[in-house]
């Protein structure tokens, strides 16, 4: 069956899945998994065709659907023990869907209540009535000035990061070729440096593009990359330099 999907915006994979099931008017306990999986993938493809970002959550769900589909194709294993009934591979998914659907109903209910409640206006607390402001016992608790500084630095760093990210949206697409030129130049000049130092801009598209280029260059043996500990800095260098400087046995970045 050819199925035309409108490019609606879905909040998440469950949202999309419920929509597909509702449109098919099928029993939620008996989902035609092959058809639904196909429509789900079609939706993802349609997003990609329009150059829209597909979040990882949708990809995870797509693989879950395909996995269930595969398991349903396997012949039911004959069980020695009669009581040990083969479980329907769809059950877990259905239970999660039902749970999600319940909360969606509740959120509709809350939205209605919110609208109703917004019609009641209490007096504003700032108004100068006979109201005595309450006393707050040590509102800052055991927070130290150092914590305050840390909070500030973190907020500020996130802000700087964010500001750059926002400006991405109006920038042109990052060219992989340009990234490669830049990376070769930095490596040539400095021999070895952190991956993060290869970035001309700390924007998400630029980071991704540079990462792809680095992977490609490793594949061609142009550079090597080493990461000394999980989530640590990745050091990139030319192969000759790298062999001199790094002990064997240190973790190599696999790609």
């Amino acid at each position: 069956m050819d199925y035309q999907i409108h490019i609606d915006v879905f909040d998440g994979p469950f949202d999309l899945l419920l929509d597909l099931i509702d449109r098919q008017e099928v029993d939620i306990w008996d989902i035609p998994i092959a058809a639904i999986a196909e429509q789900f993938l079609q939706y993802i493809r349609s997003l990609q065709e329009r150059d829209l970002v597909v979040s990882g959550d949708f990809l995870v769900m797509a693989s879950t659907l395909l996995q269930i589909k595969a398991r349903m194709l396997l012949p039911a294993r004959a069980s020695d023990d009669e009581e040990n009934l083969e479980e329907d591979p769809r059950d877990e998914l259905v239970e999660r869907l039902l749970e999600y659907r319940f909360f969606r109903t509740v959120s509709d209910h809350l939205a209605e209540r919110e609208e109703g409640a917004a019609r009641f206006f209490p007096p504003l607390p700032a108004k100068e009535t006979a109201i005595r402001p309450p006393v707050y016992s040590n509102p800052v608790g055991d927070v130290s000035p150092a914590t305050l500084r840390r909070l500030y630095e973190t907020a500020k760093a996130a802000f700087l990061d964010n500001e750059q990210r926002t400006s991405d949206t109006i920038q042109r697409v990052v060219s992989l070729a340009e990234c490669a030129v830049n990376i070769r130049q930095v490596i040539a000049e400095r021999g070895e440096c952190r991956f993060i130092d290869l970035l001309l801009q700390r924007t998400r598209p630029y980071i991704i593009a540079s990462f792809l280029v680095v992977l490609e260059m490793i594949r061609h043996g142009e550079i090597i990359a080493v990461q000394h500990k999980d989530f640590g800095d990745i050091f990139v260098s030319s192969p000759a330099k790298g062999d001199r400087d790094h002990d064997l046995g240190r973790r190599r970045a696999h790609c």
Partner: protein
Amino acid sequence: MTLDDAERIVEALVLASPKPLTSARAADVLDIDPNLVERLFERLESRYEGRGITLRRIAGGVQFTTHPDYAEWIDRLGRQVINTPLSPAALETLAIIAYEQPVTRGDIEKIRGVRSDSAVNSLLERELTAEAGRKEGPGRPILYRTTDQFLVHFGLNSLDELPQREAEQNPLDS
């Protein structure tokens, strides 16, 4: 102190209280029985019947608010709108917190199937959600619960007023 006196004091207390006034709190201030305060609340309720102001039962207490019939007039007053409606994502997240509390961000994300950082943050920001300690176990993740402001925002007297959750049975199993 006559019953009428007590009623007037309670009336003043309700207006002055920065949060919805509970019968326990009023009973404490007046040093009388909470059941008597409940009776005074009822008397006030009927006194304000059909007026522009109403005594509203909310978050386990009472507060004076304008009568909902006059909401459009209040809008014309151009009072700053504080309660901009929540986004669908925030509502969904809040629904989960309300039923599953205390609950971790991870649990919420598992149910919703998507990252929920910004939804949780906006709920914290509006004080509809608060932290409720940490869960024992790996990473000791933060637990979240709903607040009194949650009840106020949705005009609820208590969490019991939310729809009942029924277990759905697989008809094929029976």
